[in-house]
Symmetry: C2
Subunit: 226 residues, 2 copies
């Protein structure tokens, strides 16, 4: 039996919600400040959408940024402490919903864009989430994922789908109990889109200015018309 | 001695200017219509620039599109027949200038964005052009290149810089005398940016909807501050 599973990711976030809020509010995560925050905002704003669903919104920074540019946004997250913080900050709507419970029936609304910003870290949870996204999108809607770049983030391991042990390297010592994450190759990410009724419009690699290596990868999928 | 050189590219365009104008006006090039036209427009418009220089503008379609979105643009091209057509169509400014003659002294203006849309096909001409771009850009300005994707466009040849024979495959039989082109790896394109005072902000791969392979690659460089 595998020692890692999806539940460990949620358990870790429950423990680390507080230091995470601090890290985001104090801009402690350098790559986010320098590169990836701008990349996800550009990607969403570039689509000229009228509504966004941010899945795994955390403490809500992206929803707040999108609302500032005039795009009504709903953020969902499974960690009550993060959603409570987001609601307190204001700007946008928020709900505590687990990926497993998310559905059109639950939300009773659809969106022009669904975005997952570094929030797809599990195995089964991601597979089942992908199946639900088409029902949450308007016709021609976009599904945008920003995630760890598989090639750059592969490290010394084999370039093959599988669970990897977590680490809070680069974070403050307030973080503990790092979650495992499920590594996917670029081909596997593409397959998730294609097998769930999306075509991929483009792939974006924002580069870290210092290293000139990709700081992340973005997949921008478009829901195929039935 | 190599049988291919930069001059052959210009010679070919002189011969094929007329069918090229027809091909663009009649949307004969499927990949352009489906994917790459939108990709370059999105990239330029995403930067919110106030002025654009389109190097190798051809018959001027991109300049016209940018002017429609309210961005004043100047197109330059070495082929008089293409520039004459562009001027006749109106919308934007145009000049007949060879890459070798291009300079700040020649234009006496600088731009927020310089764009080369499938117009960097040679060897020396591209190297010398890169050296001139920083002088044509405002501080913090962007240099955007869209070109053949090196991995997808490599074919059965070795993945290594070098001249390749040309072909008008996929074009109408009005085209003749195909030009050779100089193949560059992704690493070589990146080196051209880095060695000329740019950092690369991001790399974009627009995907062909049918094949889900990249239809092209875009490099978006930012001029480093001195």
């Amino acid at each position: 039996m595998n020692k890692y599973n999806d539940q460990q990711i949620i358990d870790s976030w429950k423990i680390n919600a507080k230091p995470w809020i601090t890290a985001i509010e104090k801009d402690e995560i350098e790559s986010r400040v320098l590169v990836t925050n701008k990349a996800i905002i550009d990607a969403v704003v570039g689509i000229k959408s009228k509504s966004v669903l941010d899945i795994g919104c955390g403490e809500g920074w992206l929803v707040r940024e999108l609302e500032k540019t005039g795009i009504p946004s709903l953020g969902i997250d499974v960690i009550p402490e993060l959603v409570a913080f987001a609601k307190k900050e204001g700007g946008g709507r928020y709900k505590v919903i687990a990926y497993e419970s998310l559905s059109y029936e639950k939300l009773k609304e659809t969106f022009d864009v669904v975005v997952c910003n570094f929030s797809l870290l599990g195995r089964e949870s991601v597979i089942t989430l992908f199946e639900k996204i088409p029902f949450l999108l308007n016709n021609g809607g976009s599904f945008i994922i920003q995630t760890i770049h598989p090639v750059v983030g592969c490290g010394d391991s084999i370039y093959k789908d599988g669970w990897r042990g977590g680490s809070w390297g680069g974070f403050s010592d307030k973080f503990s109990n790092p979650a495992p994450w499920y590594f996917r190759t670029i081909k596997s990410w593409k397959s998730l889109f294609l097998s769930n009724g999306f075509s991929i419009d483009k792939i974006v690699e924002p580069l870290n200015k210092e290293t000139q290596l990709p700081a992340s990868i973005l997949f921008i999928g478009i829901k195929d018309r039935n």
